[in-house]
């Protein structure tokens, strides 16, 4: 599923007249791209617009055939649950839930429940190498293991697009490298495209396609 963005404009509610404007951005089916920008450059906002968490003031955010900018909030939520996986910075698992339950959540939001949900969640955990941790709480896992679970959670619904926001920010260099490889490998294996934002050079260097926020916005 390709991503097409046209004439996207967003106004920050809490920053007065400041706006984010992206005239054109495209991501092809299965493509992996990196967006680079310092803090305050609007890269997280851009991801939230792509995910449909934020609604733009105007513009088109087309996933395949669906322009989610034209959808209501509830419809965007449903779309996100089914078609988009999201990996936040390191500490984004729900602490009160086991690894398995962290995966059952987005499955539930996408309408997958019961035994089928369980099977899919366990299978996805296994695919990223943390099948043995299904019943563990995040607090009992290493940081690297937590991020594997987070990647599994982003992939469990079989999304067409995975968004990653500084996914390696809190990892040491070695773990960051492994997590990134895992993320890219799993996303490719799942046939999804990947859009990752970061300000870390080592991350950016591993991507073929790299743009800065300054380049895509005007």
């Amino acid at each position: 599923m390709s991503l097409r963005i046209e004439d996207l404009e967003h106004r920050y509610e809490d920053r007065g007249p400041a706006t984010l404007h992206v005239p054109r951005y495209a991501l092809e089916d299965g493509e992996q791209a990196c967006l680079v920008g310092g803090s305050g450059s609007g890269k997280t906002t851009f991801l939230n617009l792509v995910a449909g968490i934020l609604a733009p003031r105007r513009g088109v955010v087309r996933h395949g055939e669906t322009d989610i900018a034209a959808l209501g909030e509830a419809a965007r939520d449903r779309f996100r649950a089914r078609r988009i996986g999201y990996v936040f910075q390191t500490f984004n698992l729900l602490q009160g839930l086991s690894a398995l339950e962290n995966l059952l959540l987005p499955l539930g939001f996408a309408g997958v429940r019961g035994e089928e949900a369980r099977t899919r969640a366990l299978e996805t955990l296994g695919r990223v190498g943390v099948g043995a941790l299904a019943d563990s709480r995040p607090a009992r896992m290493s940081v690297g293991e937590q991020q594997r679970v987070a990647i599994a959670r982003a992939l469990v619904n079989g999304p067409a697009l995975v968004l990653a926001d500084e996914p390696t920010a809190n990892l040491d260099e070695e773990n960051a490298e492994r997590a990134l490889d895992l993320l890219r490998g799993s996303v490719a294996e799942a046939g999804a495209s990947l859009l990752l934002v970061t300000h870390t050079r080592s991350v950016r260097d591993r991507f073929d396609r790299v743009e800065t926020m300054a380049e895509i916005s005007a």
Binding site: D14, S39, T44, T45, N48, A51, I53, L54, E73, A74, D77, R78, R80, A81, R82, I84, Y86, F88, Q89, F91, N92, L94, Q95, G96, L97, E101, L104, L105, P106, L107, G108, F109, A110, R113, R153, D165, E166, A169
Partner: protein, 428 residues
């Protein structure tokens, strides 16, 4: 994951807060449930225990006191009316209106149970306790020779000792008296003077038990009945005589009017008499329950206030967690949870805490009532069915859950409005 499972997890993450707020609800609901149950059982039991009684005649004073004294057998007797009133009421003139009259003379007790001196009229099928014609669990009524009674009364009136000639000291026991004291037909009892049992009669004053009444759950279960002539024969019963005339006295007479205008005629005629008082039992009971109801109302108000405070505390406890949960909520939203689902999560949490607390409260209340029921029966003559959950209690539980859900809307609204983009921003 189901919504309920998510709520259970959220609650389990803050076990102390969850338990404490649920406990608050439990206490409020328990308190309310106890007040409601006691109110209901008091009403039911006082009405049931006075069912079948119509009028009571006694010395001038409070009607409620007269009823409590002669039907519930609580409190001290307030004075006497002359024995001649009984004869008068049994005369031809009253026959068209009055079907039956049962005299009572009190003043003795046996090991804490009240002794009531009366005539076999108390065993008439008309007398409501025990109900019907079949009154005895064992044995039968005491005997009383009317001629002998008149002779004793006449002798006492003249200030003479009636002597022991023709004397039969016989007693019938209420079911509880027999059961608790391990007595039966043929046992001998020795009552003492004073309803508190503070003074023993001189000499060997023993009454033989001729019968034990059926258990009824009414005050008669806790009474010892003796024949009236044996009561008048006891020399110390100077207190059983009218002060000036020395005539034998009665504490009260229970009247059972004929159907139709009988009760009204008796009531209006007896009300004109200055020397005695007539009390209409159902009216006095209604007045008493009204009085009690006012006090109950205050208890109920306090109990309901405790519930309200508990529900507010559930709301506040959840509200206070909202700041730390905002990131969690933002993550849920990013994973595809709709705002409405987030709202439901918080509302459901409030309702669930209240439901758990409320259920615990009902269990607590009824366990407490069960534990205290024996004592309530002994002290207040109140028969409490602890195992019965009243419809109003079920309604209370429902109302508490609904109110908590409504209160939960306040933190839920805060959760609903969580700015996802802001709270997803990396923690750096």
């Amino acid at each position: 994951m189901s919504l309920l499972a998510m709520v259970r997890r959220a609650m389990a993450q803050r076990p102390l807060a969850t338990v404490l707020t649920a406990l608050g609800v439990a206490l409020g609901v328990a308190l309310t449930s106890v007040v409601l149950t006691l109110q209901h059982e008091l009403d039911r039991s006082y009405r049931r225990q006075s069912a079948g009684f119509s009028l009571v005649v006694g010395p001038s004073g409070s009607g409620i006191e007269l009823v409590l004294n002669s039907i519930y057998h609580v409190g001290e007797s307030r004075g006497l009316i002359p024995y001649s009133v009984l004869r008068e009421l049994e005369s031809e003139a009253w026959r068209p209106y009055l079907k039956h009259a049962v005299p009572c003379a009190v003043g003795d007790s046996y090991r804490g149970y009240r002794v009531v001196a009366t005539t076999p009229a108390v065993f008439d099928p008309l007398f409501p306790q025990p109900e019907g014609a079949n009154k005895f669990a064992a044995g039968g009524p005491f005997t009383l020779d009317p001629v002998e009674l008149e002779r004793v009364v006449a002798a006492v009136r003249r200030g003479e000792d009636p002597g022991e000639e023709g004397e039969r000291r016989e007693a019938v026991l209420g079911a509880e008296v027999a059961r608790r004291l391990g007595l039966g037909v043929g046992s001998e009892i020795e009552p003492s003077h004073g309803v508190e049992g503070d003074h023993h009669h001189a000499g060997e004053d023993r009454w033989r038990v001729t019968g034990v009444l059926r258990a009824t759950g009414t005050p008669i279960d806790r009474v010892v009945l003796i024949n009236l002539d044996s009561f008048y024969r006891i020399a110390e019963h100077a207190g059983g005589r009218m002060p000036v005339t020395g005539e034998p006295g009665l504490s009260s007479i229970l009247l059972f009017p004929r159907r139709g205008p009988g009760k009204l005629v008796l009531l209006s005629n007896l009300r004109k008499r200055g020397d005695l008082q007539v009390a209409d039992v159902p009216t006095e009971i209604a007045r008493l329950l009204d009085l009690v109801g006012n006090v109950d109302g205050i208890f109920l108000l306090v109990a309901v206030l405790v519930v309200v405070v508990a529900i507010v505390s559930v709301m506040v406890a959840i509200y206070n967690t909202m700041n730390e949960r905002r990131r969690e909520i933002a993550i849920l939203r990013a994973l595809g949870a709709s705002r409405r689902r987030i709202l439901s999560l918080v509302v459901l949490e409030a309702a669930l805490v209240a439901a758990i607390g409320g259920l615990a409260g009902l269990i607590l209340a009824h366990a407490g009532l069960a534990a205290g029921s024996a004592r309530l029966a002994a002290v207040a003559g109140l028969e409490v069915r602890a195992a019965t959950v009243l419809p109003v209690e079920a309604a209370l539980l429902g109302a508490v859950v609904l109110a908590a859900a409504a209160a939960g809307m306040i933190p839920a609204w805060k959760a609903y409005r969580t700015d996802v983009a802001r709270h997803l921003a990396p923690l750096s």
